[in-house]
Symmetry: C2
Subunit: 561 residues, 2 copies
């Protein structure tokens, strides 16, 4: 397999996801026949994709390729979430390399996909080196909002590549070692040909908040609160969960962890020593009533206003043990994901109406994301002194902002590159460029229930139209011999008008349908029912629009008996 | 009508919209048989209300009431938008009182409702006083983002009420006189029993930006830009439109105004002298090509990423004359309405991909809303020194924040009140309280095409379900005599699976339908087709879920022939 020993002068990078978007990160590196993959993430769909569960990368480019290994930088779903959908296509034996916590989270997730065989995962640590064909990958510790997050030094025949993973610099992190700048500098001295760096925070000025500051602010809330504390955050924000547990112990509170993803993550982390809690601190929600309110902390998911999350049930008084009451203090320790602003506002209003107090990240610094802001990003560029620079992980505007930062640090425009998903990027010792001829398929692949990629433009468009004005099915039975309508047409409609209050409209519509069909039958010799159906669709559509200014999906059915 | 001369000790305030929400502002004041109304606004629906055009207040409380007059504070749609839906219910002769610009905008809007008779609108100015039964209403100038905005002093038999309208304090407004603090102070000296004040900005620290600052920052962009300037803002943000026109004139640019709402507003404002432009400054978009790029400014709507707006067509190269190109400078001079973050991000990315430059309000101060921030709100309370205080216009969290500001200004909690839409508030010289017994209907009334209020829970729920997993209609023809299925059932489906690629699934489903129906017919004497349909719905629903993990709306139709 490694027979050809001649040195090719270029390496190819193919981002299959995560560029021009936040989520579904996936990068392919290819040197001659050797292929390695970094991350396999998913992305949550927006409102414009109704019914879709996730979006994952398109991996048809990898067909027939010799994938030597898959490297997973850390355990967030935008880096691991697509694994179950890809693994049988890439080859179940392909080895994974990742940190211990990430491994735990991946294995737990695989339980939801019982038909899939066991994965082959090797655990790595800060300083681990692995060889995959002509690639050597060395892992280095990077701070983020979850432990066991690794940046990568990828040594290749054309030069050294640094991939930052998601990262931020933090001198005082929680349950994690601080950023080791001395080590980063040593990496920077190894002649970095190309730096791939996280752009998520590239539009935000300054330096990201230290977890220490957040801890101090959270402590202020703990000091003041007399009733229960209900803290909502992401299930994946392990650092914050640890902080809440630590503060609860300090202030004599028991902690109940709620919400499937949070519960699962806490379990995995506890088993691997990434979350520390004294014996007896964590209690079941059913035992909350055994303690006074001042000794209770509720940790839960749902800070985005998700309808099915625990927080919603607590607020709507649908939880068996934890319903919101006056005197509760609510902490929102997470940012609002774009698109969720409205539901978070509703949530806040509902909480306030019930007389609880709210602290959220806009009122005080009780949340930090896991991503470097502008000052840190510039520092990373200064440390790595790369010859070439390529911003990864983020919307196009973030990538552009990141390029501007690189230019502020003295990089020439021609040494930077802003590719998009599916671009094929050639890296040579003295050149980096995007191929103008080749492109890998990189459109979004939609996961909906058991279907992967089967929901396309047409189905989505239908869903959007149905959502807007509903549907209107007309069923007419005609006599095969005479072509005459046998009984008054049946009408089924949903989402258009309230049928019980629209009897007159339905009556008129039925009459019109009979007219349209009768006319075709009279005027034509042999009846083309497809034409008739088209006629019904068009004319009834027009009629309903005149009457209602709505455009339901009209589906005429003509049945000959 | 004014026969009973005895003095009632209370007045009633009934907010029908605008409390606990942003939009559809409407307040009813009632003293004995005399009723006046302040504002009649609409609200734009969120994604959770698919297909809905607007939400308006429920006015069934007003049935049979003696409405003496309708006061409109200013010309924004959240204050005027519901007028066409209410006027024939309240009585076409009921007089309106409002500023000249607002009158122009209302009359222009009425053109879209040709069936409605002409409105009876009296124009008022700063200082105008009108008497409506036992109410005397005096109008006073308030700064906002549109001219002719008036606060109200309402003199009533129980005491004086001040309604701030939407407002901000501005010493250097555009095309408008600065805030007249001396006059406000004189009002405050008149013993204000109750202050109703705008809460929209109550969660934002500090003082709102002056339009002067914005002007200076915009000028910086004009100075630097060598190509065309494309400025997107709200069609209703008349101040900003004026600023862009003024700067364009200063820097030798012609201005083309695009987008229906903006064009209409500019026309109305020009006619009334509220927008000033030199002769020849405004040009048609088709004439843009006659000038070099450095002499062109494009003003347009669509800064929220609305699909049908001009900006989208400019960016997607669907505009006959104005398509985006490298070298263009794009100014977003408007905030992002909650819920639109995603589409605005897409817009920004698309613009950057085409090589244009972007300036938006997060990068520099080139936008201010029309609403007072915390420092101004406190100042208003200090000036008015009201006995009672009630925050209006805003989400519940904003109202609560406003109450906290009032308390910082020394108001006692018992003298403040946070009512909700539909509450009936009793105001007496020494007391304010919400009735515990009475309530006015105040749920959202949805406007969808020609239907007002006919779309309810059921239709909406259907639309949401249809959007998620589509629909699945099963049509089976059975023999009336034998109860046997005559031909293979027809299936129509949209938004569920792509039918052409799901032949096997459809085949199995048909077989299952035949089985289910045959079984009922065999097992029962007289067939209850409703039971059979329910059976088909349930079993096919389950079957499809097992196969796809999706839950389309299943509609079985059984037709006897």
């Amino acid at each position: 397999m490694y027979a050809q020993k001649q040195i090719s002068k270029h390496l190819r990078l193919i981002p299959l996801g995560g560029l021009g978007e936040v989520g579904r990160n996936m990068m392919v590196l290819e040197y001659q026949k050797d292929v390695i993959i970094i991350d396999m993430g998913l992305k949550m769909p927006g409102e414009e994709l109704p019914g879709i569960d996730y979006i994952i990368p398109n991996i048809s480019y990898l067909k027939g390729k010799n994938v030597l290994g898959i490297i997973i930088t850390h355990g967030h779903y935008d880096h691991i979430g697509a694994i179950p959908y890809f693994i049988d296509k890439i080859g179940v034996k392909t080895p994974f390399f990742t940190g211990g916590l990430t491994r735990g989270i991946i294995i737990k997730r695989q339980e939801d996909f019982k038909h899939l065989p066991k994965l082959n995962i090797t655990t790595v640590k800060d300083g681990s080196k692995i060889r995959l064909g002509r690639f050597e990958v060395e892992f280095f510790h990077q701070n983020h909002s979850i432990a066991d997050n690794f940046g990568l030094i990828i040594r290749t025949p054309v030069g050294n590549i640094v991939h930052t993973s998601d990262f931020k610099f933090d001198d005082n992190p929680v349950n994690d070692s601080p950023t080791n700048f001395a080590k980063l500098k040593r990496i920077g001295e190894q002649k970095i040909l190309l730096l791939l760096s996280d752009s998520t925070g590239a539009e935000i000025e300054g330096h990201s908040l230290s977890e220490k500051t957040i801890m101090e602010n959270l402590e202020e809330i703990f000091k003041k609160s007399k009733g229960r504390i209900i803290a909502a955050t992401f299930g994946s924000l392990i650092n914050r969960i640890q902080q809440i547990i630590t503060l609860s112990e300090k202030y004599g509170r028991k902690v109940t962890v709620n919400g499937y993803s949070m519960k699962t993550n806490v379990e995995i982390c506890q088993n691997l020593g990434h979350i520390k809690a004294n014996k007896g601190t964590l209690i079941q929600s059913k035992n909350v009533a055994d303690y006074p309110d001042s000794q209770i902390t509720v940790l839960c998911t749902g800070a985005q206003g998700e309808e099915e999350a625990t927080l919603m049930r607590i607020i709507n008084h649908e939880h068996p043990f934890l319903n919101l009451k006056k005197g509760d203090t609510m902490i929102f320790s997470s940012s609002v994901i774009p698109g969720n602003e409205r539901s978070v506002q509703m949530l806040k209003d509902d909480i306030l109406r019930q007389g609880a107090k709210i602290f959220h990240y806009k009122m005080m610094d009780i949340h930090a994301g896991g991503h470097a802001h502008q000052e840190e990003l510039k520092e990373m560029i200064r440390i790595m002194k790369p010859k070439f620079f390529m911003p990864i992980h983020g919307q196009y505007s973030m990538q552009i902002s990141h390029i501007e930062l690189a230019q502020e640090e003295g990089m020439l425009e021609e040494n930077t590159i802003v590719p998009e998903n599916g671009n094929i990027i050639y890296l040579e010792p003295n050149k980096i460029f995007v191929s103008k001829k080749e492109k890998a398929p990189a459109g979004p692949v939609m996961v909906d229930g058991l279907g992967v990629g089967d929901v396309g433009e047409i189905v989505l468009k239908d869903r959007q139209t149905l959502a807007k004005d509903g549907m209107f099915v007309i069923i007419a039975i005609v006599d095969r011999q005479t072509g005459k309508i046998k009984t008054s047409p049946d009408i089924i409609s949903r989402g258009f008008v309230y049928l019980r209050e629209s009897k007159e409209l339905l009556h008129q519509t039925r009459k019109k349908v009979v007219e349209i069909i009768s006319k075709t039958v009279e005027s034509e010799g042999a009846v083309n029912w497809n034409h008739t159906k088209e006629d019904v669709r068009r004319k009834i559509g027009k009629f309903l629009f005149t009457k209602t200014k709505r455009k339901p999906v009209i589906l005429p059915v003509i049945i000959e008996v």
